[in-house]
């Protein structure tokens, strides 16, 4: 939060973002809205899930010469873009973890947007269309994959 101990250098951009999306700003903070904290807690579990999956794949997986499914070209990314295959029990565990964690990611995304929509755009509705486009939609795309769509 602005004025906080760790704002610089880690959270400087969020000073602006908190004025665009109030759920990350003073409005939610002062209202003791627990949504962001609850969301952060689930984010931790989700991140752990992905790291466990990566650990299993990179510890037990066998490197293959072919390009991985959905991976960037091996000519650019080398071994990193090659497929890895896990077998047996580890394969079963890692698939289950990956499926469950991906379901978490999808559900949370839908939840954020539905929460905003069903609240009558309580936290972003104050922006005009131009502000919303450049400070809310573009950042969300840049941090993701607009270049792919």
């Amino acid at each position: 939060m602005p004025g906080g101990k760790y704002v610089w250098p880690f959270y400087t951009p969020y000073e602006l973002y908190g004025t665009i999306d109030y759920i990350y700003g003073w409005k939610a903070y002062n209202a003791h809205n627990g949504f962001t904290a609850a969301q952060g807690f689930l984010n931790i579990i989700e991140t752990i899930g992905y790291f466990v999956y990566l650990y299993l794949v990179y510890t037990y997986g066998q490197q293959e010469q072919v390009e991985g499914r959905g991976a960037p070209p091996t000519s650019v990314f080398g071994k990193l873009a090659e497929a890895r295959t896990v077998y047996g029990k580890v394969a079963a565990y890692s698939t289950l973890i990956a499926f469950s964690t991906a379901l978490m990611t999808l559900s949370k995304t839908v939840l954020y947007w539905l929460n905003e929509a069903f609240s009558g755009f309580d936290n972003i509705g104050h922006n005009d269309a131009v502000t919303l486009f450049f400070y809310w939609i573009v950042p969300k795309c840049v941090t993701s994959v607009c270049w792919q769509v």
Partner: protein, 49 residues
């Protein structure tokens, strides 16, 4: 009017959002693998691959 422009913008985010595209793809891929495993375990003789 403003409400609808906001709604349109949010829909735009929805369409281009990686947070929807990637997890959906992952659910499809991993879900298919889980189903394949369960089908094999159920004694289905049909070859799935």
């Amino acid at each position: 009017m403003r409400y609808f422009s906001v709604l349109a913008s949010v829909k735009l985010t929805f369409r281009s959002g990686a947070w929807i595209v990637f997890p959906t793809y992952m659910l499809y891929v991993f879900g298919a693998e889980i189903l394949q495993g369960l089908e094999l375990a159920s004694g289905e003789t049909k070859k799935t691959k």
